[in-house]
Symmetry: D2
């Protein structure tokens, strides 16, 4: 992966503050596991109330943490007084979402002044084992001069 | 839209049964609003605990109801003793998800023995007004001889 | 489909001029069949030198005419002194691309000042029969104050 | 990237044979640059007759070589008497396609008996410089017992 530098030295506090205002993340029990320039990771313990009909994590929740990880990966590189919106994403669900917990990874592939392209991945973790359960690609837009808060 | 016929006369009970086993749908307060051959609609009242950082419905929840509507739209056309899995979907978030409630629509574009392609749409409803907030496209796979339950 | 109005009365000449500067369209024998506000159609006669390994039209050519139809559908609604770029598209190839000629249809789903979302479809035509062979969704960006020529 | 083993020792001849039957690849001047288990690369010299309205390589041609590289990357891992079809792909065009030649890279992310997921990338090459111009994700289907020829 390319290495990125954040132009805003306050990027981590900015991302953590915004994440803490996403009520959904608290509702499902997700937390930020890593915030670095161009890369964000989110952890989600399995919960039976987040499942689909076969007892696996619902694809919508897999998508929620993947989209959020990618959005904040891009946001680390945005200017201080900006907001981030997801334009679109595409996700392949590559294995049953079975695990004790899940790790969503968002990585910037291509930063830009207006648009930012990210790679998304979600892994299921059980003991020491990790298995990729979803891979995706996302387009973000930077709203300049529109502080997140 | 093309009109479809369900080969399994028990398609509606099969879809409603499977939906009722999706714990996530109960957790977020979603319910089936329409189950017809090749088309399923899901209703979700707004709830503040499902929002992103600006107070709108989180894109992950928008995606969850869109993916579920599309999955069950395809499932109406599948044989009795089968299951449905989402292979992948792509979604554009076209407007802020602001509304009193939300309606996800899944429509089969192209049925098939193994794969099924659906169109996804989510509308925000406020009083009498409706606004499209997301459009997408989804690929499903039919697992034959693998009953859902 | 929603109906759109073009803010630039010269939209048709602008689209036709830009299309005529796409060398690829001449190379493969494609021509504009319809240019209306928010909707563009492109015709392509089958040619054996545009095929994949089984003798069908190559998915890359199906994608080329779909992407171009969508791009110009959006461009009809852009201001006079602007350019259009494809940010991304997603396409499902839903049937073998077998036919005497092909018709790509691009339709604006959601116009916007910066981004524009389109629906893409390609049909194979043989005598009086038409069959959908591809459906897609596309995101465009409007480059304001950057004339196409 | 994960490393893969091809179950069919004749995978390279099988891929090269199929590629040579893609008339479009000869028409545009593309050639196979690498065929290894789970990874295929395609080279395309720039040609003015393959361009869009600003003189860059047309997104449809970028997509054609990306789709073909991914399709054959998956096909290296398929059984001897099978065919490969693209179910769908999504591609972001991340920079103007300006270069002396182009390199499309298809890599298997997730192999499977029926479906196979690939990562797509296209680079523009000018002298010693390389720039990523497109990234994508693709779903393939393996048609067992349907030899390509």
């Amino acid at each position: 992966m390319p290495e990125f530098e954040a132009s805003d030295p306050g990027y981590e506090a900015r991302v953590r503050g915004s994440f803490s205002r996403q009520a959904l993340m608290a509702t499902i029990g997700a937390r930020l596991a890593l915030v670095s320039p161009g890369r964000v990771e989110i952890d989600l313990p399995f919960r039976a109330d987040l499942t689909q009909q076969h007892g696996y994590l619902h694809a919508g929740i897999t998508s929620a943490i993947a989209d959020t990880a990618g959005g904040y990966a891009g946001y680390t590189l945005f200017p201080a007084a900006s907001s981030v919106l997801t334009v679109e994403f595409k996700i392949n669900l590559t294995a049953p979402a079975s695990g004790e917990r899940f790790r969503a990874i968002g990585e910037v592939l291509k930063p830009g002044r207006t648009l930012c392209i990210c790679r998304l991945e979600v892994r299921a973790l059980t003991g020491e084992r990790a298995a990729t359960i979803a891979v995706g690609q996302q387009t973000l837009i930077c709203l300049a001069d529109r502080p997140d808060e």
